[in-house]
Structures are given as C-alpha cells and as structure tokens.
C-alpha cells in the first residue's frame, strides 16, 4: 500500500492476521495489519492493553504461544517472507536480524545465570564468537555502551536494579547488531526518572547505530519523544498511522482523538482528562462493523454494518474510519 518511490522498505508487513484458537473460541487478535518500517526509522505502535500490538510483534518473530496461529499475510524482511522460512532459518533470523527488548526489569533474564553469560550466549549461538571467552570483549563493549561497567557482567540479574536490568536487556538485544529492534513496553514497571533515562538511551543508540526500531507502548508521551511515525491499533486492527506530528496535531480517527484526550497536555493544564467510556472489544466476539463503533461518539449506521478499510487520506496519513473516505479528509482539529 506504500507509494514511496524509493527503495523497498526494510520490513514490509502485509495483511498480518493472527488468531488464537482456544477451547473458549477463536480470538481475532490481529486482523489485516499492514505497515512498513524503513531503515533507521523509529516506529511507535500504540494501543490499549489487549489491542494486539504485542501479538503482532511476536508474530513477526514467530514466537506466539501454542494456541496462536498466523493465518494470513506476509512479513517481508529485505524481501524475504519470514512466514515462509523453516524453523531453523527462522532461528537464525531471531536476534541476528530482528531482536526484541522485553521488559527486562521483570523476568526477562534467567535468574540463575550471570548477565554476561546470557549476552555471550546470543553471540556464540549466532556464530559471532567461538565460545564464552571469545565473546567476552564484545559483552564488555555492549554493557559499557549502555552505561554498565563490564565487570558487572559476572553478576546475576538479582544483583541489578530494575533500570540496570533494562539497560542490560538493551545491550543484549544489540549483541548481534540486528537490523530491526522491537522494544515491547521497555519502560513499563520502571519509575519515571528511570523511564526517561531508558528512552534517552534507546533514542541515542537508535540514532548512532542507525537501527530501525519498533516501540510498542500504551504511552503516547513515549511515542512523542522517540518515534518518527506512529501506528495506532484498536481491537486487533489498524486505526490510524502517520508521522508523529500528525497524530498530535491532526488526529483523524475518533479513537486516536479520545486517546489523546485521555493524556495530560502541559500546554493546556486546565484541560480535563477524559477517559474513553466502555471497554475494548472482546476478541472472540467482535462487532460486525467497525470495532470501535460501540464506544464511538460519531458512530452512524454504516459503522455498525461495514468494517472500514485503511485509506490514505493525507500524504502518509492512513486512517480506517468511514468518516474519512479517501480524498474527503475533513479537518477536525
């Protein structure tokens, strides 16, 4: 769906559809999600808990839990469809080409092995070092890159603070110099000061190493700080995607607008925060029309029957909403 005339994007996800098939029914976690990621670009993936953003990311690495199935779509990394690879080729892609920053502050490190050993393991597995000893200089270098002295590599995760663990997690994610780094809620469960440090670190590394980063978060302020482009998901589908300024200055989808109204705005301290009434849709019992229709203030007849498709209504600005038919973009800011 991209009309960019330049080289093909680094990562081109087309119509990704992921379902969970469970005894309680089929959960449509991600439906027809398409997006592109350019080299060196930082993309924010935003939405409420359970909107499918983490599922979409785990789908890219094919790390879904047993019940999860990628039922359709393609994920082209430099032209190779990741969903067509066999398991051993896929293992070679993981971490070496696409790595993931989990919530390191929580339990992403094995508690009984040293942090250094766990970073070295990735290097040895992907053939970047013969053994632990040979990996050591690189491990030290990685740790120092995120502001941890190399000597602390021989310590265990429980001897680190939450912020340090998250930085070590970032160091580990960069071990094999991947092209794409997916950061899944990297600042959740950290206090505000540490959050700012981690974001700053991520942004600096992204710039210096020319990484393409997908930042998964439910926090729009994080996106505003770090990302070039934003993708808003609601109920497993794309709601809106555009340059980061567009989201804040000219949000088109009613959901995006409600989402922004639910965040504090420092320039309008007297403005009231408004929560969105209702609940996100249950992914095993979706409404037939637009998934946001039951909570939308601007809902009309068509929204209840027909599912809106993403359309490019302004240059680089995509939205899936019947209010914004192609070319008929009405300015509502």
């Amino acid at each position: 769906m991209s009309e960019r005339p330049t080289a093909p994007p680094l990562l081109d996800v087309r119509d990704l559809t992921t379902r969970f098939i469970t005894p309680e029914g089929v959960f449509h976690a991600v439906e027809g999600l398409s997006f592109q990621l350019e080299r060196g670009e930082s993309l924010g993936l935003v939405g409420e808990s359970g909107c499918g953003k983490s599922t979409a990311m785990l789908s890219l690495l094919r790390l879904l839990p047993a019940a999860g199935r990628i039922v359709g779509g393609q994920a082209l990394l430099d032209g190779t469809d990741l969903f067509g690879l066999d398991e051993s080729d896929m293992r070679a892609v993981r971490w070496h080409r696409i790595s993931m920053i989990f919530q390191g502050a929580m339990n992403a490190f094995n508690p009984v092995r040293t942090v250094g050993a766990q970073i070295a393991e990735a290097l040895v597995f992907h053939g970047l070092a013969q053994d632990r000893g040979e990996a050591q200089p690189r491990v030290d270098e990685l740790l120092e890159m995120v502001g941890i002295t190399g000597a602390r590599g021989s310590q265990y995760p429980h001897q680190y603070s939450g912020g340090m663990r998250q930085r070590a997690m970032i160091a580990m994610a960069l071990a094999c110099s991947p092209q794409v780094v997916i950061a899944d809620e990297p600042t959740t469960a950290l206090d505000v000061m540490i959050q700012a440090q981690i974001l700053e670190l991520l942004e600096r590394l992204q710039r210096e190493l020319g990484l393409a980063v997908i930042l998964v978060t439910h926090d729009l302020s994080v996106v505003a700080e770090v990302c070039h482009r934003v993708l808003v998901m609601y109920g497993g589908v794309l709601a809106e995607s555009c340059e980061v300024d567009g989201i804040f200055n000219q949000p088109l989808h009613p959901y995006t607008r409600r989402l922004l109204a639910a965040f504090p705005d420092l320039s309008r301290p007297e403005g009231k925060l408004v929560s969105i009434p209702g609940y996100p849709p249950r992914l095993n019992a979706l409404p037939p029309g637009c998934r946001f229709a039951p909570r939308c203030e601007e809902v009309h007849e068509r929204c209840l029957q027909e599912r809106p498709k993403p359309r490019q209504v302004l240059p680089g600005h995509w939205v899936a909403c019947h209010l914004h038919e192609a070319g008929a973009a009405n300015d509502r800011t």
């Binding site: 690495l61 790390l63 051993s88 293992r91 070679a92 892609v93 993981r94 971490w95 070496h96 790595s99 993931m100 989990f102 919530q103 929580m106 339990n107 992403a108 490190f109 094995n110 508690p111 009984v112 092995r113 393991e121 990735a122 597995f125 992907h126 265990y156 429980h158 580990m172």
Partner: protein
C-alpha cells in the same frame, strides 16, 4: 564471612534437632503398651521372679526420669541412656543380646545397598522421564508417561513386591529371600557379588518403580512451570532451539524442587524400605525396626531412630548447600 555464619547457624540447628529427637525417642517407645520382659523371655508363662530378674538385668526396674526413692536422683533409665550414648554406646538389644551398634552396622550396609541403588535408579529414570514428558507436553508420549507414573506411584509397595517376587522366581529363577544364598561357598569375590546382585535385583526393582513416579511427576511439572517463564521467551527470541533452551535455561532451575525431594528421600535411606525388606526378607534396617517394634526392643529402636534422625538432618543440610550452588539468589555458599 556470611557463608561461614550461615553454615554455623545451620550446623547448630542440626545438633539441636538431633538432641531433641534423642530425648523424644526415649519416651516414644516407652509409651507403647505391653511389657518388654514378656518378649525378652519369649514365653508368656514366665513367673514373677524371673521377670523381675530380667527387668533388673536390662535396667527396666529403675524409674523412668528421676529417681526419688533413693540411690541418687539421676539413677534412672533416661540418665543411664544418655550417659551410655555420651560414651558412644547404643546399649544392648533385648532381643539379640548383642550390642545395638554392632547389629545396626550390619543392617545399614545391606539397606544402603538396596535403597541407595533403588533411589539412584529412580532419580535418573524419573528425572529423565519427567524432562521428556515436559518437552513433549500434550503429546501421547506425555500422556503415557503420566499414566505410567501415576500408576507406579499408587501401587501398594508390598503388592508390587509380591507380584515381582512371583514373576521373578517363577519365570526367571531369581532367589526369593535374603541377601545371599544360605550356606554357599564362593569361589571368588566375583561369584559372591553376582549372587548378592541376583538377590538384590527384585527388591531394587520394586523400590525403583514405587519411587519413580513421584520423581517423574515433580520433574515434569517443575519443567513446565519454568518453560512458561519470561526468560524462556527471551531465550527463544535469541534463536535457541528447544533442546538448547531445556539444557541451558530450564534444567538447572527445574532441579530445585527435585533436590528437596531427593534430600527428603535420601535422608530416609537408612530407615530402609520396611515393606520391601519384609516381602523379600532382606536383612536391612527396615526389617530390624519392624522386628524391634514387635518385641519392644527399646535399645534397638532408640539406636535405629537416632541413626535415621542424623541422616535426615544431614541430608537436609546437604540440600541447603546444593541449593546455594544451583540458585545464586540463595546467599549461602
């Protein structure tokens, strides 16, 4: 430094526990109804004079705790027992008329031969099978392993023993009782070892089967629990294969509950397997205790229980130390 303090504290607690058990044992067996002199004489028609003489010979005429009738306050059964123990003397068996230390020495060797062999086999097979079942979770192999383990675990020991005894002796010509063939002249140590081995086969097998199920089930659930941890997802994302994840990230963590179980079971090694030893007439500690209870042989019971208490306490101490090695979060070694 912290390690030495920890060890000293653990050791002090161990000694206190053993002292407590030592005193408890003394009273425990004297609460049993009946009069030991009846079984000592092995004849119910004993006249009162002989009975009194027997009681006096074994010190049973003295008061239990404190002598308030004269002849010194501490001239009692309890203090005589403690005094002898302090000199390393476990007393003389009522039944065998031989020193308890000597009898226990013979029996413990036999028991360790049987129980340790069975335990080791059960641990190796059970842990291996549990790991395999967890790896092949929700496959017919897993289901089969669970059914086998539950069945093995719920079989009555004596029933399985009798069954194996019948099958082994009828179809495989294996001996039915004792430690070695009675009255046999061995050409060499080898010949004797083979004979003992043949006697050992069936009781060990019984013991192994009965214990196997528990190890397998605990190991399986332990591994499954670990496999659902966040750091296992990290390991997968790093590109590790299922086998590498099991070896490098699951095994060590999953061993913790198994170590507890092994320590508890090994601690009771010297207690023998009363049922197995009785069915196969194996001259071990288990059958000794069984016989001693029937005959109210206080010194043998006290001695045997003391040795059991010491080995249970020692096994727990060992488990604590192994914990420290397996899990760096435990601050011991």
């Amino acid at each position: 430094m912290a390690r030495r303090d920890y060890l000293l504290k653990r050791a002090a607690w161990s000694v206190l526990t053993i002292l407590f058990v030592l005193i408890l044992n003394f009273f425990l067996f004297r609460i049993l109804p009946g009069d030991p002199t009846t079984s000592i004489a092995k004849d119910p028609r004993l006249d009162a004079d002989t009975r009194a003489a027997l009681a006096a010979r074994f010190g049973l005429d003295k008061p239990l705790v404190l002598n308030v009738q004269g002849g010194g306050l501490f001239d009692s059964q309890l203090f005589a027992y403690v005094d002898r123990l302090a000199h390393g003397d476990l007393g003389v068996s009522f039944n065998y008329g031989r020193p308890v230390g000597e009898i226990l020495g013979e029996r413990i060797g036999n028991t360790v031969l049987l129980v340790l062999g069975g335990q080791l086999l059960a641990i190796i097979l059970g842990v291996g099978l549990g790991l395999l079942a967890a790896w092949k979770n929700r496959t017919p192999l897993d289901t089969g392993a669970i059914i086998f383990s539950l069945t093995a675990w719920s079989l009555p020991t004596f029933w399985l023993g009798i069954l194996l005894l019948i099958i082994g002796s009828t179809y495989f010509g294996l001996p039915t009782a004792g430690r070695q063939t009675v009255g046999m002249d061995y050409a060499s140590v080898w010949a004797q070892a083979i004979d003992v081995g043949r006697h050992l086969l069936l009781p060990t097998l019984t013991f192994t089967i009965v214990l196997l199920g528990e190890y397998m089930l605990v190991m399986r659930s332990s591994v499954l629990e670990i496999l659902s941890e966040d750091y296992i997802l990290t390991a997968k994302a790093k590109g590790l294969s299922q086998g590498q994840i099991l070896r490098h990230h699951a095994l060590q963590n999953a061993m913790l509950p198994i170590v507890t179980l092994i320590a508890l079971n090994l601690g009771f090694t010297v207690a023998g397997a009363i049922q197995v030893e009785t069915v196969f007439s194996w001259p071990g500690v288990g059958s000794l205790i069984y016989e001693a209870v029937r005959r109210q042989d206080y010194p043998v019971l006290q001695g045997a229980f003391l040795v059991i208490a010491i080995s249970v306490v020692a096994a727990n101490l060992a488990a604590d130390l192994v914990y420290g090695l397996l899990d760096p979060r435990i601050k011991s070694p």
